[in-house]
């Protein structure tokens, strides 16, 4: 549901609650007014009944017959005054009580009639009149006091209803707005996370159920932006590849020109001075040609390795084992160099998902470079450790060699870039870079001229279900 609709719904709910409370309050007020009206009528009635009883007392004290007529008159006027408001009274005290009241009145009237005809002044009939008069008065008093209590009850009930509904509305408003704002904040946080991940270059699409609210629209927009960025990135990668191809072609030309020139010069001299040269000289020259041909062969082989990276056969491996095997491969080279080797292999590291041979090839490349950088001796250190957030494992290859000048650092992974002059093909690091990228890993370099160079390889941790823990 859209957030807008939710807000409207919660407002409708609260307004409904307020209307309901208003309705109840009106009901109570009406009831209260009815009761008050009855109390007013009842006060009049009580006054009339009191007067009746006073006349009754006059009759008994002075045996004044006219007092009885007074009472009779008052009863009539009372009955007349009740008749137009009988509906109101019935609503206030119920039909039953109204009937009872009327019955009391008529009984009293009957008692008066009896007294009138009772010339002999029968004491029992007098007593009956008194009893009826008292009964009428008491009944009327009781009902009036009950109704007063009823009014008070309604007032206090209304007060309570208003009090509690105030808190209920307040609580509902607070809770609903809290939930809605939580929802908005959660979605905002999710979008913030996405934006951050995009800013770090992860242009993957957001999968799964889209929320059906405004955030769904935002996520859809982010998705299409992400896709656009991904397309642009692919174009960029393509153009970078073309640029690399340019560097590659120039590099191939330069790399091949030197041995070709050597072969050419040897061949020219061989023809020109064939007669002058001894047989041993001739064989020596041919051997040199063979050596130069091998040089070309190596360049071509490296080039093929570079252009057609072999499909990585990824397996779950212990990185420390791979590091140890690489060092074993390099044992002879290390023995004849002035380089001292130290290792610092992390214990209990998560297993990685790698092609063992390819990673060994990368490590061997890095070790060879380190040894070359430490012609005058130094320490080669290999260290393994867990990466941040436990999703990667890192391998550091640290040398104390001459270091790489800052202006070269950004080019060292370019094909055919070499600082070794004749000694290197300039493909080792570039091939290594390709291998690590194929592993969805990272390779970084940090170097200080005169102090040494650190290469750091970061490889994804093995995950049972997907292979890669950080699968895209």
């Amino acid at each position: 549901m859209k957030i807008e609709n939710k807000i409207i719904l919660s407002n409708v709910f609260n307004i409904g609650l307020i209307l309901l409370i208003g309705f109840f309050a009106m009901q109570n007020l009406n009831l209260m007014l009815t009761k008050l009206r009855f109390v007013e009528i009842a006060d009049d009635l009580n006054a009339s009944f009191l007067e009746m009883r006073l006349s009754e007392k006059n009759y008994f004290l002075y045996h004044d017959e006219s007092a009885l007529l007074d009472i009779k008159e008052k009863i009539d006027s009372t009955e007349k005054s009740i008749a137009p408001v009988s509906n109101d009274i019935s609503r206030a005290i119920g039909q039953q009580n109204l009937d009872l009241l009327k019955a009391h009145l008529s009984e009293y009237s009957e008692a008066i009639d009896e007294v009138k005809t009772n010339i002999s002044h029968d004491v029992r009939i007098d007593a009956k009149l008194r009893a009826k008069g008292r009964g009428l008065r008491e009944f009327s008093n009781t009902i009036t006091s009950l109704e007063r209590k009823g009014v008070n009850h309604i007032i206090s009930r209304s007060k309570n209803v208003l009090f509690y509904s105030f808190w209920a509305i307040l609580a509902s408003a607070v809770i609903v707005s809290h939930f809605i704002s939580q929802r908005i904040l959660r979605s905002l946080r999710e979008i913030q996370r996405l934006a951050k991940s995009i800013s770090q270059g992860n242009f993957h699409k957001i999968e799964g159920n889209m929320p059906a609210d405004e955030f769904g629209t935002v996520i859809a927009a982010i998705n299409s932006m992400s896709e656009e960025l991904r397309n642009r990135e692919e174009e960029l990668i393509q153009s970078k590849k073309l640029a690399s191809l340019g560097i590659l072609t120039a590099g191939v030309a330069h790399e091949l020109t030197n041995p070709l020139n050597n072969i050419s010069m040897i061949a020219q001299n061989y023809q020109e001075f064939y007669d002058v040269l001894s047989e041993a000289n001739r064989i020596e020259l041919m051997k040199k040609i063979e050596g130069e041909a091998e040089r070309i062969e190596e360049i071509v082989r490296n080039l093929l390795d570079f252009s057609k990276p072999k499909e990585a056969k990824l397996e779950e491996k212990d990185i420390n084992e791979t590091v140890r095997k690489s060092l074993e491969l390099m044992q002879n080279t290390l023995d004849i160099s002035n380089v001292e080797v130290s290792t610092e292999l992390g214990q209990g590291l998560p297993r990685v998902y790698i092609d063992d041979h390819q990673i060994q090839q990368v490590l061997v490349n890095l070790i060879v470079n380190a040894v070359h950088a430490m012609e005058h001796g130094g320490v080669l250190k290999l260290a393994t450790r867990a990466g941040e957030e436990g999703q990667t494992v890192k391998v550091d290859v640290i040398d104390t060699g001459k270091g790489i000048a800052p202006e070269f650092l950004s080019h060292i992974f370019d094909p055919f870039f070499s600082t070794k002059g004749v000694g290197g093909t300039g493909l080792g690091l570039s091939v290594s870079y390709g291998i690590i990228k194929n592993h969805k890993g990272n390779i970084r370099v940090d170097s200080t001229v005169g102090a040494g160079t650190t290469f750091t390889i970061e490889l994804p941790v093995y995950n049972k279900s997907t292979g890669f823990i950080a699968d895209e």
Binding site: H254, T257, N261, M265, I266, Q268, N269, E272, E292, G421
Partner: protein
């Protein structure tokens, strides 16, 4: 022109060796160097008639060799060779008063002819 002194500087050893072999047959005195530093040290002690140098070398490169030679001995001719058949490099080299410019692979006969011309002037 017998005994005239030629210096060849190239980080490819075979280039020096082959140039020496060919030039010595013509009666030149040839010394070869694999990089700029020892070559310039040698030049400070003794003048050579022609210096053949590779353009792109580690450390002191061909351009620096050219500048130093011209400062020490303005009459010494410098011939530049390079694996980079690059016009820009050639133009820069010629501006710097280079006698001749050869892209690799070098034709030894042409190189010899160029050296002859340099010495005739």
């Amino acid at each position: 022109m017998q005994g005239q002194k030629i210096m060849v500087i190239d980080d490819e050893k075979i280039v020096g060796d082959m140039a020496k072999l060919a030039l010595e047959q013509d009666g030149f005195y040839v010394e070869t160097f694999l990089n700029g530093e020892p070559a310039l040290e040698r030049l400070k002690k003794e003048q050579f008639d022609v210096v053949v140098t590779d353009l792109k070398m580690k450390g002191i490169d061909g351009m620096e060799v050219l500048r130093t030679v011209k400062r020490l001995y303005p009459e010494t001719k410098v011939i530049m060779i390079t694996a980079f058949a690059n016009l820009d490099a050639a133009i820069e080299a010629l501006r710097g008063d280079v006698h001749d410019f050869f892209p690799k692979p070098v034709k030894i006969k042409e190189l010899k002819a160029s050296i002859q011309r340099a010495l005739e002037r």
